[in-house]
C-alpha cells in the first residue's frame, strides 16, 4: 500500500517535472479516448463514398478533406484509431505474455531450457525482421490477426532477452531465497516472486514496441499486405495517399500520417517517461 502511494507520488513528480512526458501522457489519454469513442466522434460515415465530392481540400465541412472516393478523411482517421490501437495492443500483449514468461523461465531455470530459448530467439534475430513479418503475413494471409501475429513474432527475442536478464539477476536474490525456504515450488516462485519484479522494466519495452507495431503495420500496407479495403487504417491510408502527394492532394496522406506519427511518438516518449519512473538514475 505504501509502495503504491510512493509510486503515485513518483508518477506525479515525473509527469509534472518532465513536461515532455506529461504531454505524452496527455496524448495517450486522448488516443485511448478516441479509440473508445471512435465512430461517435466521426462526423461522417467513414465508408460512405461520394462521387460529387472527391479529392476536396480541407475545409470547414471536411476538416481533413476528402479522398479519391469522396470519403471524409477526418472521419476515417478518427475511426481508424481503434483498429490501429487494437493491432498495437494485441500484438504487444501477445508478445508480452509469451516473451516474458519464456524469458523468465529461461533466466530462472538456466540449463537446457535457457539454451533452447536462446537458440530460438537467436534464430529470429538473425532474420531481417521486416522481411520476416512480410513473409508471415504473405504466407498466412493479410488479416488483422496475422498482422498482429507477425508483429508479435518479430518482437519476441527482445522480450525474451530483457526478461531473461532480469530473472537471471534475481534468481539468487535474498527475497527469492526467502520464498524458497518458506516452501514455495519453483513454478510458484517464478510466477509470484520473480515475474512481478521484472514487470517494471518490461513496461518500458511494451511502450516502445507499441509504436513499432503501428509502424510495422504501415510498412506492410505499403507493399499491399495491409488490412482489407475499405477498412480505414492509418498505414493503408498513408500508403494509398502517398500516390497523391505528387499531384498536390497532400491531405490524403498527411493527416493519417500525422495521426500515426503522433501515436508512435507518444508511445516512445511514454517509454522514456516510464523508464524515469522506474529508475530515475538510469534515465536515458
Amino acid at each position: 500500500m505504501a509502495a503504491a502511494g510512493e509510486y503515485a507520488r513518483h508518477l506525479r513528480h515525473v509527469v509534472t517535472e518532465n513536461p515532455v512526458t506529461g504531454a505524452a501522457f496527455g496524448l495517450f489519454v486522448l488516443l485511448v479516448l478516441t479509440a473508445v469513442l471512435g465512430p461517435v466522434l466521426a462526423p461522417y460515415d467513414p465508408l460512405q463514398s461520394n462521387a460529387a465530392h472527391t479529392l476536396e481540400a480541407p475545409s470547414a465541412r471536411h476538416w481533413f478533406g476528402t479522398d479519391q472516393l469522396g470519403r471524409d478523411v477526418f472521419s476515417r482517421v478518427v475511426v481508424a484509431t481503434r483498429l490501429d490501437m487494437t493491432i498495437a495492443f494485441a500484438s504487444v500483449a501477445l508478445v508480452f505474455v509469451t516473451g516474458t514468461l519464456t524469458g523468465v523461465a529461461a533466466g530462472h531455470f538456466g540449463g537446457w531450457v535457457d539454451r533452447l530459448v536462446g537458440r530460438a530467439s537467436d534464430t529470429i534475430m538473425a532474420f531481417p525482421l521486416f522481411v520476416l513479418a512480410m513473409g508471415i503475413v504473405a504466407a498466412l494471409g493479410n488479416t488483422v490477426t496475422n498482422i498482429v501475429l507477425a508483429t508479435a513474432v518479430v518482437n519476441f527475442p527482445l522480450y525474451v532477452r530483457v526478461a531473461r536478464a532480469e530473472a537471471n539477476v534475481r534468481r539468487d536474490a535474498g527475497f527469492v531465497e526467502a520464498a524458497r525456504i518458506s516452501g514455495n515450488g519453483e513454478a510458484r516462485l517464478v510466477l509470484f516472486h520473480i515475474l512481478p519484479n521484472t514487470l517494471p522494466i518490461m513496461m518500458v519495452q511494451v511502450s516502445l514496441t507499441l509504436g513499432y507495431a503501428i509502424l510495422n503495420a504501415a510498412g506492410l500496407s505499403f507493399i499491399g499486405l495491409g488490412v482489407r479495403p475499405p477498412t480505414p487504417e492509418w498505414g493503408i491510408m498513408v500508403a494509398d495517399g502517398a500516390n497523391y502527394i505528387q499531384s498536390g492532394e497532400w491531405w490524403i496522406a498527411l493527416f493519417p500520417g500525422l495521426a500515426l506519427m503522433l501515436a508512435v511518438f507518444c508511445f516512445n516518449l511514454l517509454g522514456d517517461g516510464l523508464r524515469d519512473l522506474i529508475d530515475p538514475r538510469r534515465r536515458t
Binding site: 538473425a126 531481417p128 508471415i136 504473405a138 502517398a242 516512445n268
Partner: protein, 337 residues
C-alpha cells in the same frame, strides 16, 4: 583470437540452420503457385503441370528441401524466376548498393546523433536535452517510406535541388570500375571526382531517409552512457584535480561511453539493413532488399531464400566484428564470455 573466431562461427551454425529451415517452410507456405504464375495467362492445367515439373516443384516438400540443401552445399542459390538470373550473382551484384546505402545512412545518423547525445547529457534537463529527445523520437515515429516520399517531393519536385530518384547514378553517367562495389569509394579510388559527386548526390536522400530512422536509438544510448560516465567516480576525481571541462567530457567520459554506443551501433546497423527494403523501393535503389520484396510478392522462392540467408550471415559476421571491436576498445572484456 582465431580460435575464438572459429568458435563463435561454429556457435552461430544452429541459428543459420534454423534460418534456412524456417525460410524454406515459409516460402512453401506462400499462397501463390509459381507454376501457374509462370505458365502464362492462357495456360491449361496440363501446361501448368509441365512448368511445375520443369521448376522441380512437383516433388514432395522434403524432397525439395533435400535438393535445396544439396544446391546450397555446392554454392548454388538457385535461379530467380522473375529476373531469370542466378540468385547468387544477383545478390553479389546488388549487395554493394544496399551496403553503401546502409553505411551512408548510419554515417549520417552517427554524425548527428552522437554530438546531440553528448550535448544532451552535458546539459541534462535543459531545453537542449528535451529538444534532442523530441527530434530523435520524431524521426523514429514516421514510416520510412513516407519520409522518403516526402523528401523526394520536397527536394526533387518542389525545391529541385536533388537529382531524379532513379537509382545509384544518373542515366547518362557510367558506373566507376568495380573495386569495392561502393560507387563513391570506387570513383574516389580511381580519381573520378565527378562520378563520386554524382553518386553522392543520388545517395543523399535515401541515406537521409534511413539515417533519420536511426537517430533515436543512437542519441538515446549516447546520452545514457555519457550520463553514467559523467556521474562515475573517475570523472569526479578528474574534475576535482582541476582538469578542463572539455578534456573531461571528451577524453574521460566519452571514451568510457563508447562501449554501449558501439553495441547499439551494431544493433542499429543490422536493423537498418532490414529496414532499407522499403527505402530501396521508394528510390528505385537496386539493392538486395527491393529484390527480395519483388520476389516475395510473386512467390519466387529462390531469391527470398537467398536474401534471408545472406542477411543472416551478415548478421552473424556483424556481431563477430562488434565483439572484436569491443575487445579493442576495452581490453578488460574477455572475448570468451
Amino acid at each position: 583470437m582465431l580460435a575464438m573466431i572459429g568458435r563463435r562461427l561454429l556457435a552461430a551454425l544452429p541459428s543459420i540452420a534454423g534460418v534456412i529451415v524456417v525460410t524454406f517452410l515459409l516460402t512453401r507456405l506462400l499462397p501463390g503457385d509459381p507454376a501457374a504464375y509462370f505458365a502464362g495467362p492462357a495456360a491449361t492445367p496440363q501446361a501448368i503441370e509441365e512448368v511445375r515439373a520443369r521448376l522441380g516443384l512437383d516433388r514432395s516438400v522434403p524432397a525439395q528441401f533435400v535438393g535445396y540443401l544439396g544446391d546450397l552445399a555446392r554454392g548454388d542459390f538457385g535461379l530467380s524466376l522473375t529476373t531469370g538470373l542466378p540468385v547468387l550473382r544477383e545478390l553479389i551484384n546488388r549487395l554493394p548498393a544496399s551496403l553503401e546505402l546502409t553505411l551512408a545512412g548510419l554515417l549520417f545518423a552517427v554524425a548527428v546523433a552522437v554530438p546531440l547525445g553528448i550535448l544532451a547529457a552535458v546539459r541534462a534537463g535543459s531545453w537542449i536535452d528535451h529538444a534532442t529527445r523530441i527530434v530523435a523520437t520524431a524521426g523514429v515515429s514516421l514510416p520510412t517510406f513516407f519520409t522518403g516520399l516526402l523528401l523526394v517531393h520536397v527536394f526533387y519536385s518542389v525545391l529541385q535541388v536533388a537529382p531524379a530518384p532513379m537509382g545509384r547514378l544518373d542515366v547518362f553517367a557510367s558506373p566507376p570500375p568495380h573495386i569495392t562495389g561502393l560507387y563513391i569509394v570506387d570513383a574516389l579510388l580511381t580519381g573520378d571526382a565527378a562520378t563520386a559527386w554524382a553518386a553522392l548526390a543520388q545517395l543523399a536522400l535515401p541515406a537521409l531517409t534511413l539515417g533519420i530512422f536511426a537517430l533515436a536509438p543512437l542519441a538515446r544510448m549516447t546520452r545514457a552512457a555519457m550520463l553514467s560516465a559523467l556521474g562515475s567516480d573517475f570523472v569526479r576525481a578528474a574534475r576535482a584535480s582541476g582538469l578542463s571541462r572539455s578534456r573531461i567530457v571528451w577524453v574521460y567520459a566519452f571514451r568510457n561511453a563508447l562501449l554501449p554506443v558501439l553495441t547499439t551501433l551494431g544493433m542499429v546497423f543490422s536493423f537498418l539493413l532490414g529496414a532499407n527494403v522499403l527505402v530501396e523501393k521508394v528510390f528505385a535503389w537496386p539493392g538486395i532488399g527491393s529484390y527480395a520484396i519483388e520476389a516475395l510478392i510473386v512467390s519466387d522462392y529462390a531469391p527470398v531464400q537467398g536474401f534471408v540467408l545472406t542477411m543472416a550471415l551478415l548478421y552473424v559476421l556483424l556481431n563477430l566484428v562488434i565483439d572484436i571491436l569491443y575487445g579493442i576498445v576495452d581490453p578488460r572484456v574477455k572475448l570468451e564470455s
